[in-house]
């Protein structure tokens, strides 16, 4: 199945048992989300007594008002946006250029370099975190945007994905462009890059989601509240007894942190479904 062939959800082809199974799985998936949203709309004092009060009124937006009352929240949203967008565009640019080079250009050590990039896929972040922390300390990059963005730009998967995608484009197009007097950059920019848009969309969406949801590195690198990303900021505002004394507030924070992701999903829903379907069938 090609990515272009992915259609919207359809019940056709499901047996009653299959349909029941899918409905059950959907219920299992949606229940915690509804639970979270429900709790976020309840007063904290009520939840302290009994969380089952979520099933009945009164409901309130007080928890959301409390979040917005924190002056840092919008700063954290801004930080997350800057970091996620910068990381996404950086990864797309670097992966595309590297993918083009690995797929199309002849140079000494190309194969060895590609293998080295692929080895990056096998190294977990935890293995390099101390060295990275030391390096960023030495370069005074902690509590800066570059400090939050640069680690995310190392994307061996992106390079691999784009290399494979470029390899799938017929070389005849490059050759036709060469005969049309195009330079290597023109071939990359005007002929091949537009043809990689499906892969760019896939890579861009996954990179943005991963960057937005990243918690560990921002937690280590950003120690000043003004440089927190939303995930770190939201976590930092929780009290020790948040789960008992401020459960509604906690849940409202979770919902609030998810809203940008929901917006991204709504905007790029078609691409995300294609990306996931493509990953499943490729």
């Amino acid at each position: 199945m090609t990515a272009a062939g992915v259609k919207g959800p359809s019940l056709a082809g499901f047996t009653p048992a299959g349909l029941a199974g899918v409905a059950l799985a959907a219920a299992v998936m949606i229940t915690p989300l509804l639970w979270t949203v429900g709790l976020s709309l309840k007063p904290n004092f009520e939840l302290m007594r009994d969380t089952s009060s979520v099933f009945g009124p009164p409901y309130t937006l007080e928890n959301y008002r409390a979040i917005l009352a924190n002056s840092n929240v919008f700063r954290w949203v801004f930080n997350s946006t800057v970091v996620s967008l910068s990381t996404t565009f950086g990864v797309l640019a670097l992966s595309s250029l590297a993918g083009y080079a690995f797929a199309r250009l002849e140079f000494r050590g190309r194969r060895a370099l590609f293998v080295a990039v692929l080895l990056g896929l096998a190294i977990p972040e935890q293995a390099v975190i101390i060295a990275r922390h030391q390096m960023f300390s030495a370069l005074h990059l902690h509590n800066t945007y570059p400090g939050l963005i640069l680690p995310g730009l190392s994307a061996p998967f992106g390079v691999f994905l784009m290399t494979q995608y470029f390899r799938g484009i017929p070389v005849e197009l490059d050759e036709a462009a060469l005969l049309d007097g195009a330079s290597h950059f023109t071939i990359f920019w005007k002929v091949l890059l537009p043809l990689t848009l499906p892969a760019q969309a896939t890579l861009g969406i996954f990179t943005f989601l991963a960057s937005w949801n990243d918690y560990w590195w921002p937690l280590i690198s950003a120690t000043r509240s003004s440089m927190f990303t939303l995930t770190v900021g939201v976590a930092s505002s929780q009290m020790n007894f948040a789960q008992t004394s401020g459960l509604g507030y906690l849940m409202a924070q979770a919902v609030f942190a998810s809203v940008p992701i929901l917006i991204v999903y709504a905007l790029f829903q078609q691409h995300i479904v294609r990306a996931v379907a493509g990953a499943a069938t490729r």
Partner: protein, 365 residues
Amino acid sequence: MSSLELTNISKRFGAVSVFQGLSLTIAAGEFVAFLGPSGCGKSTLLRIIAGLERADSGEIRLGDQRIDTLAPGARGVAMVFQHYALYPHMTVRENIAFGLRNGGAPKAEIAERVAEAARVLEIGPLLDKKPGTLSGGERQRVAIGRAIVKQPRLFLFDEPLANLDAALRTRTRLELAQLRRRVRATMIMVTHDQVEAMTLADRVVVMNQGEIQQVGTPMQIYDRPANTFVAGFVGSPRMTLAPVGLVPGDARFATVRLGDGSQVSTRVPRADLPSEGLLLGLRPECVRLGPPRPGEPTAQVEFIERLGDRTLVYVKLGDGTAVTAEDKGASQAQVGQTVGLRLAAAAAHLFGPDGRGHHAAGRAG
């Protein structure tokens, strides 16, 4: 229009030598077909001329200019690819204009030349469509349009009709012939289809295993094949090549004896012929069927192909030599029947043990 001269072109891919010292001259305005089986090196030669492959040694001159040192886009060469290689995200107009834009042509001139190409190729209504929405024939025209708009000195066609169905191939072949009259430029076409080569080209270059086997007009190639490879490759069905012995004598022309003992008096001069290891070459149209007659070879019908206007009859001589004969219209021959062969011996060819062809004196070519 420019002449093309290839001198001592050599090319290796790793341990495999594709060409060694290949030389060829193509006159200005000539349409030449490179004809040969898959893997013979014809496409590689075309790519070397285009600059998409680099020759290991040798020189290529287009007109007065040496072009093998130039980038593909600077050679004054345009190429139509087998799979068209149209840019899928661009409209037909953008595809055709792409080369002119890269060359820095003014917008007004680009628009004018694109419109002219569209008029010549009758693709005006397609200009704002994307290649993905076009039929194979339309894509072919757009690919040709992209080539002619650059007004190149040399056109290269890489198997231009290979992707078209039979009906469209015939029509496009005709269109290519017409295009050739309208666009006066030197043209080279690579093909493995002898009909394309024979019908379109002024001269055919028959290639095999990286070597030029013969260069000549289509009828020269057909009537006077230089060797057994050309004789077998050009012509459908292929020429019968039967081992024969030279009948001793001092006549001017050679008489040969087939394996079944029957003799064929050819019009091939005896003077240059080797005395043994000969092969007799007979095109199917030079072998007719009839009732067996004394002194003529007889054969048994093995297989019959009825093509409507003619019938191909595959027969075997008494010694097992296979011969292809042609009967006009619907043949009365039956499988298993014993028939007599009427050989148009004057059109027979002889090939020496080295494969070289010896032909009837005074035949066309």
